[in-house]
C-alpha cells in the first residue's frame, strides 16, 4: 500500500452542510471515494490509499485535473484504491463530487 495526502488551494467553496457521500467499491481495478465537508474554505484535501505503489506522479496529474475541472474547495476527499486506471479514478471522483453536491 502507498499513502499520501495532497492539498490544493482553490476557490470558490462548495455550499456548506452536505452530508458525506461514498461512491464506488474497493474491488480489483476500482476504488471508493468518500467526500466530506472541510473546515478550511479554500482547501481541497485529498488522501490517497492505493494498493499500487509507485504511481504518485500519475495520481498528482489526475487529481490536479479534477480539482481544476470542478473548482472544488471546502471538501475532504478520501480514496481507497485497488489499482484503478487513471480514467476510472477521474470518472469516480466526478461521480462522487456530483453525488455530494446533490445530497441534502
Amino acid at each position: 500500500m502507498e499513502q499520501f495526502t495532497l492539498s490544493y488551494k482553490t476557490s470558490p467553496r462548495l455550499q456548506e452542510g452536505h452530508p458525506p457521500q461514498l461512491c464506488g467499491v474497493v474491488a480489483s481495478g476500482n476504488l471508493e471515494v468518500l467526500v466530506e465537508p472541510l473546515d478550511s474554505a479554500d482547501l481541497c484535501l485529498i488522501e490517497v490509499n492505493t494498493s499500487a505503489p509507485g504511481f504518485r506522479l500519475i495520481w498528482e496529474a489526475v487529481l490536479s485535473d479534477f480539482v481544476e475541472r470542478n473548482r472544488v474547495a471546502g471538501v475532504r476527499i478520501s480514496i481507497n484504491d485497488a489499482g484503478a486506471t487513471p480514467a476510472v479514478v477521474g470518472l469516480r471522483l466526478d461521480q462522487a463530487l456530483d453525488a455530494y453536491r446533490s445530497a441534502v
Partner: protein, 300 residues
C-alpha cells in the same frame, strides 16, 4: 405511467440495493463510512481496506414497516466476513432484539469467512449466527435476500439457512462449500467449478427453491425482491413469529427425513427437478420465474 427500467439486483452494489429496496430516502446508516471503521487485520497485511468494511447496516422503512437492514458488498473481498464486518452484522441483529422492528433483512452476498482475518473472522460469523437466533427468540423474523454474484456460501450459507425466509433470484446461489472449494479439495472430476450450468444446477436459486430451502424465487430486479419482502412483512404483522416449540421441530425433522428419501439418488440438479415433477428437464433453466413457480406449485 413512467417507464422505469428495472434495476438488476445482481448488477447493483450493496448500497444501491438498499436504496432501491426500502422506502425512498428512509435508510439511516449506523457506523457510516465517515467513521472509518476499517479492518485492522487487512491494514496489517498491507491489503486495501474499505471505509464500511464491506457491509452497510442501518434502519429503514419498507412499505411503511420499520425494519433493520444489512447489505454485504460482494465486490469487496467477495463479501467475506471479517471482524468489523461481522461485528456490524451481529450489532444490527442485537439492536433488533432491543428495538423489535417488524423484521431484520440481510442482503447476503458473501463467500463466508474472510480468511485474512482467520480466527477473528470465524468468531465473527459464529456471533452473527447466535445473534440471528437471539433475534428470532425475541420474535423478530430475520429474512435473507440472496441474489448477488457471490451468493451465500460458507458461514454465510449457514446464516442464510438460519433465517426465517430465504428470498432468492435464479442468479443467486446458496451452499456450504462453494464450487471452487469443492474442486480444490475433491478434484475437478468431483466438481468442475468452471462448468457454469453445473454450478447453477447445484447451487442456483431454482434448485434451492425446488428443494424447499429458498422460500421464494423472484426475478432478478430489486422491485421483485421488494414486493415479496413487503408481502412477508404484512404477513408477520398479522401473524407474528411464534416461539419455536417441540412439535414444530419434530415436524421439520420429519420433513427433512422425507426430503432425504425423496432425493436419495439425486446426484445433480436435473434429478432434483425430475423428482420435483418437472417434465422437460432441458427447459427448466430457461423457464421464466413465474412459470417455474407455477409448475413447481402444481407438482406439489
Amino acid at each position: 405511467m413512467k417507464n422505469v427500467k428495472p434495476a438488476s439486483f445482481f448488477e447493483s452494489s450493496a448500497r444501491v440495493r438498499v436504496a432501491k429496496l426500502v422506502d425512498a430516502g428512509s435508510f439511516k446508516e449506523f457506523c457510516p463510512p465517515q467513521l472509518r471503521r476499517t479492518s485492522p487485520h487487512l491494514a496489517r497485511l498491507n491489503a486495501p481496506v474499505a471505509f464500511d468494511d464491506g457491509v452497510a447496516v442501518g434502519s429503514a422503512t419498507l412499505a411503511g414497516h420499520k425494519i433493520l437492514i444489512a447489505a454485504q458488498e460482494g465486490k469487496f473481498n467477495g463479501g467475506a466476513v471479517g471482524e468489523v464486518h461481522g461485528a456490524k452484522l451481529a450489532g444490527l441483529l442485537d439492536r433488533g432484539v432491543r428495538e423489535l422492528p417488524r423484521a431484520v433483512l440481510l442482503l447476503i452476498d458473501s463467500g463466508g469467512v474472510r480468511l485474512h482475518e482467520a480466527n477473528a473472522g470465524l468468531i465473527a460469523i459464529s456471533e452473527v449466527m447466535r445473534a440471528v437466533l437471539r433475534c428470532q427468540e425475541a420474535g423478530v423474523p430475520v429474512l435473507a435476500l440472496v441474489g448477488g454474484a457471490c451468493g451465500a456460501f460458507g458461514g454465510m450459507g449457514i446464516v442464510t439457512r438460519l433465517c426465517n425466509e430465504i428470498i432468492m433470484s435464479e442468479e443467486g446461489r446458496l451452499g456450504l462449500s462453494g464450487p471452487e472449494v469443492i474442486e480444490t479439495v475433491q478434484g475437478v472430476e468431483e466438481f468442475d467449478s468452471r462448468d457454469r450450468p453445473l454450478v447453477w444446477r447445484v447451487t442456483g436459486g431454482k434448485v434451492r427453491r425446488a428443494l424447499g430451502e429458498a422460500t421464494y424465487l423472484v426475478d432478478d430486479d430489486i422491485c421483485s425482491f421488494r414486493s415479496v419482502t413487503a408481502e412477508l412483512l404484512c404477513r408477520y404483522q398479522t401473524k407474528p413469529l411464534a416461539p419455536v416449540d417441540i412439535d414444530e421441530i419434530s415436524a421439520e425433522h420429519a420433513r427433512l427425513t422425507e426430503r432425504t428419501k425423496r432425493f436419495a439418488t439425486a446426484r445433480d440438479g436435473r434429478e432434483i427437478f425430475q423428482a420435483s415433477g418437472f417434465v422437460d428437464l432441458d427447459e427448466v433453466s430457461l423457464l421464466p420465474v413465474a412459470k417455474f413457480n407455477q409448475q413447481l406449485l402444481e407438482s406439489l
